[in-house]
Symmetry: C2
Subunit: 205 residues, 2 copies
DNA sequence: AAAAGTTTGGATAGATCTCTCCAGAACCAT
DNA sequence: ATGGTTCTGGAGAGATCTATCCAAACTTTT
């Protein structure tokens, strides 16, 4: 099914998704129509519906999947090795740097889509939720690694802690988006480090 | 300026705001047009623009202010007296009950508007941010009361803790909205209690 | 009761948006 | 090369949406 297009076609399709994602991130989903995407990509109306027979809804779902990847990539490479308190700190720095460079606008590439799509498109909501699952799994992996190294209290409820951390991150993004201030995200990430520290064994903080 | 309308007129205006808020909360902002609001309130097109000369954008801003109040009311009366660990627990229970009854859908009445309006309407973003400020101030007041009672570590950075708690709540709402599971909000609120407990003096937990 | 102001209903303009359809150009395999 | 497939361009139907405008009905005031 992914082989339905030639290399050229797949490139055009990607271009459409990328442009749609960028526009939605900058202006909000409601302000982005097919025509805006068409203009931004120098494509024709026919192409858009050729590559997305499901129309706008199908583009939007592709954007969700793209942004789920984007949100994770924004945190790499640190996201893949959150196995010490220092690595969590490095992860925090990267996330802040990325969103500082973006002007503290737009919120979470993935999370900001939740409020915009969840109520109108259940399938999109499912995709967003799946993205959160993968994200939380990365946190879990890091925390488990810490536990294996003896850096985390053995009794820690890792899945619950991972979800709490993800909630903190998402909430930090929401507050940041409303205020356009990186400070809000920074405070939330400080609390993440605090949570990790308080579940760590060597409580030297 | 608030006396521009008679009692009857003000009632109609309120009816419009309430209906718009409810529809937006249920279907998402992008799916709600003036016509939907008109139908839901059995009003005419003329009335809508009579009471909101600024058109759709003005209605939306009024909805933001209404939902800022709604979000706080959802947490009352506990929100006004978060001066002990028990009161935080009662607050948690109320919030869960309210959103459980709503089917764990829609997210935060206020916070869900951030992603939907912040990028397209700066004034709306300002109103949302102001709502968050009031919300955080309530948390601060409760925490300060705890400190005055000797229940909180004197060195606690209360404003930062309040912001972290608000971020947790907002993030919990985001995860809840995507998954339609009250469990996600519950986990976030558990973490709130944990944060409060860990900043409390008598660490018997 | 008359006048002034407010509220209500609805027609309609004007713009916008999604989506369908068709045809020509480019590409690829045999 | 040639036949089939994919890619591209654009016209236009059909629906929807915001907003304006005007006049009638109702309220309030004098």
């Amino acid at each position: 099914m992914a082989e339905r297009w030639t290399a050229k076609g797949a490139a055009t399709r990607s271009r459409i998704i990328d442009a749609a994602a960028a526009l939605i991130y900058e202006r909000g989903l409601a302000s982005v129509g097919i025509n805006d995407v068409r203009e931004a990509t120098s494509t024709s109306h026919g192409q858009v519906f050729h590559y997305f027979p499901g129309g706008r809804a199908e583009i939007l779902r592709a954007v969700v999947e793209r942004q789920a990847r984007q949100a994770l990539d924004d945190q790499r490479p640190e996201l893949d090795a959150l196995d010490s308190r220092e690595s969590w700190q490095a992860w925090r720095s990267r996330l802040l740097a990325v969103h500082s460079a973006r002007g503290a606008a737009g919120g979470c590439p993935l999370g900001s889509l939740a409020a915009q799509m969840a109520e109108s498109d259940p399938e999109a909501a499912r995709l967003i939720d799946a993205g959160f699952d993968v994200w939380a799994a990365h946190f879990e992996r890091g925390l488990e690694a810490m536990r294996a190294n003896g850096d985390l209290e053995p009794a820690t409820d890792v899945p619950a802690l991972a979800r709490a951390i993800l909630a903190l991150v998402q909430g930090g993004f929401v507050l940041m988006q409303a205020s356009r201030s990186i400070e809000r995200l920074s405070q939330a990430l400080d609390a993440v480090l605090l949570l990790v520290r308080e579940n760590a064994t060597d409580d030297q903080g």
